[in-house]
């Protein structure tokens, strides 16, 4: 699988790596049980610190998308919910759009409540 990062972007490198794995899951390029490339190799390929890649993987672990085991690498969880991942991705995009429009977090929640009612 490929990873792409832009060091000049406002988004952190670890977040960019996590975003790429999420996208691969949504595109079905990654499926439950698949192994992610070793962090060391990803770091070498992108010329970044290995801990940055591991931080990206840790974000995905905290989201319940992958499992990280010492010495055994990272693997997509077999019980991963791709639909929920998709929804979260859309929420993330929504939060980003709200930030660009200068809408506060509370303002965004209010707007969402209005739509949901």
């Amino acid at each position: 699988m490929w990873f792409r990062v832009d060091p000049t972007s406002a988004v952190g490198l670890a977040d960019q790596i996590a975003a790429r794995v999420r996208a691969a899951l949504l595109e079905s390029r990654l499926t439950p049980g698949d192994r992610l490339p070793p962090a060391r190799e990803v770091a070498r390929g992108l010329d970044i610190n290995m801990h940055t890649v591991l931080r990206g993987y840790a974000i995905l672990r905290d989201e319940g998308l992958i499992e990280l085991r010492r010495g055994r690498g990272a693997r997509v969880r077999t019980d991963v919910d791709v639909d929920l991942t998709d929804l979260r991705q859309q929420i993330r995009a929504l939060v980003g759009a709200a930030q660009r429009l200068g809408i506060s977090r509370e303002g965004l929640i209010t707007e969402m409540r209005k739509v949901a009612q």
């Binding site: 490929w2 000049t8 990803v42 390929g45 992108l46």
Partner: protein, 310 residues
Amino acid sequence: MNVRRAVVAVLVLLAPVLVWLGHRAYAAVTPDPMATHWGFHGVDGTTAAWPYFVAILCASGALGLAAVAVSWLAHSTHAGRMLTSMLAFGAWIATVPYLESLLLARHIRDAHDVPMPWYAVLGGVGIPLVVAATAYWLHGDTAPPLPRGPVPPAMPLADSERVTWIGHAHSRPFQVLSPLLMAAAAVLVPFQAHVSIPLGIVGVALAWTSVIAVRVDQRGLHTLWGPFGWPRTRVGLGNIADAHSERIEPLQWGGWGYRISSRGTAAVLRRGPGLVVERVHGPRYAVTVDGADEGARVLIGLLARERSRS
């Protein structure tokens, strides 16, 4: 090329014909049983002439026919070329010593008096080697160009972006075989240490070549062997003229493992998708890897960006 292969066929089938002619010409003037083995102190083995002739004729004929069959059926592969050459060697190594033992035994009554001078020993091995080399040269490499898949579109890359692609390939037979060999080696240690050591070495070697990782990045194409990613080889981005993916047929690249053939060099673990790069300096390089299409796309993207910069 067909003419060349016909010449190869004549060359290898000449061997059983010579066996037959030699028997016809000299059977009457050579001792029976005939001398068939020599030690440091002269003849130490004799065999009845007629069964020995039949055995040699069958061996030479069978190897010759096998060489012709392989040459015609597997002519497009490097392995076919190698096998033809080896079978030609086999047909002639059966024939030449037989002919020599007839020629040297002419008009000698007792088979134990037949000499075996050094030049006959040299010829017995040298002539088959020359025939094998000639067959190899004549056979040539007639492999047709491989059908290329559609060239994948380059991945568009901004100047500030960094990209890497990582893929793997596994050899299932090696993955199954290597632990079996290592287990067999471990069991045999107390009984047959001299067998268990080479067995263990082969098991480890198979484990080492059962997995390969491939990385594409701004430095080029990296191939990492074995479970620990070592040894690793690299084709620098500046030395890559073009890249594409294609279906790799191991026999067309000279077999499995790290291969050097007229088609180029290749790291081959299995049949299937592979990433192929044309080098600016040096031969083409191919590596079997899953998802080679995507790898080629990233590599072409990196090449395109590199060219737009210069």
